[in-house]
Amino acid sequence: MDWRKMAKKAEGLHTLEGFASLMNIHKKTAAVYLHLMRKEGYVKTSRGKRGKRLYEISPLQLRPVGSKGFFEVLNENSSIGIQFPYVQKVYGRDVRAEEVIIWALLTKDYRVVLASLELFRKVGDFSLLYRLAKHERLERHVGALYALARKFFRLPRIDGRILKSMMRAPLKKKYIIPPMKSSDFADIQHKWGVFIPFSMSDFDRLRR
């Protein structure tokens, strides 16, 4: 059986019934075909409303190269799902949560930075986070986001010396995401000297 041909014919998002009807086969046969196509890499399974199984069929697949990139690590650790226009991979090493936080800040994207707050839970090496932040001159931004994330999640405590170094770092850009600033979290904004782009209601989404 040419599974690629079948995947080409049935490309798209289907339920089991939809696929069976398209291929004009019995549901049981459809389940077997989907299982075999998934083994070949042409089918990805997900769940829709009320737990309905959905099958994303595509004859075009990227060969597995490298390990998880920033997008994947972010989506795995955040309750906010982010869609990215391309697949990102890293070759030869594993990406750490510390790197993803800095990368998220550099994107200056509202949803990406909000999603990265939950990554502070996975930070194992605050000195690495500080070094990466220092390289990009984002020490105060990272410190402010850490303080913000601490209000809503249980996070590992940052070393006092690293915290002091972050607070003493020079600040060139006050905006985390220009030109967004909110009136909430005035204490953190005042302490760290940066404008927090999020409001209290944004965290309802994270906590859900």
Binding site: R4, G41, P59, Q61, P85, Q88, Y91, G92
Partner: protein, 216 residues
Amino acid sequence: MINLDRQLKLFKLMAEQCKKKVEVLVIGGSAMLFYNFSKKATKDIDLVALFENERKYLASVLERAGFRQTFVPGKENEREPCRLEMGEYVVDIFDGKVFRLTISQGMLDRIREKIEFGSLTVSVISPEDIIISKCMTDRPGDRQDAASIINEINVNWDIIIKECRWQSEHGDFRFSLYLHDFLDDLVHDFHIDVPEKTLKETRSMCREFMERLGKK
């Protein structure tokens, strides 16, 4: 012949020599290796640096890694690539222009995958753009590759037509002719099923081009 593993090893070697962040596009047969097409190996690796200074930098990086520069394009043939060789590795580096094709913003937006090798980021173009990059040459191998892509996946022909229009307006004004001949060869020599709507559009673009030539 170079397969995907060897290609990745080369990129890793380049990244080790890169002292600054560089992004490079991989096109042609090298890009096909990143997908699950039946093509498993390529004769040479085609890379596109977005700027001339980045191309020169990548050439110097490869020279440091042991490659020998066998061709340097001059002013008369600036669209030709810089060629570097080492053993069976042959690397062609272009700078934003690949023969008669100009890398457009649309192609950059359609990038499917980016792989980070330290300081070197390799971006893989979409299958439609691989077909576009193959349509300007007369090599039967390129037609064979394009035919296999069209046979194996559902190609978005609207993207190809849209890109062809862009190339005709901002790059080589004869691009519609190249695409028309290319699709014609695919239909007649390789018996590929190209949608009638696409063939009509390419014919009308060719007619527009001939009319414009006639007016001049």
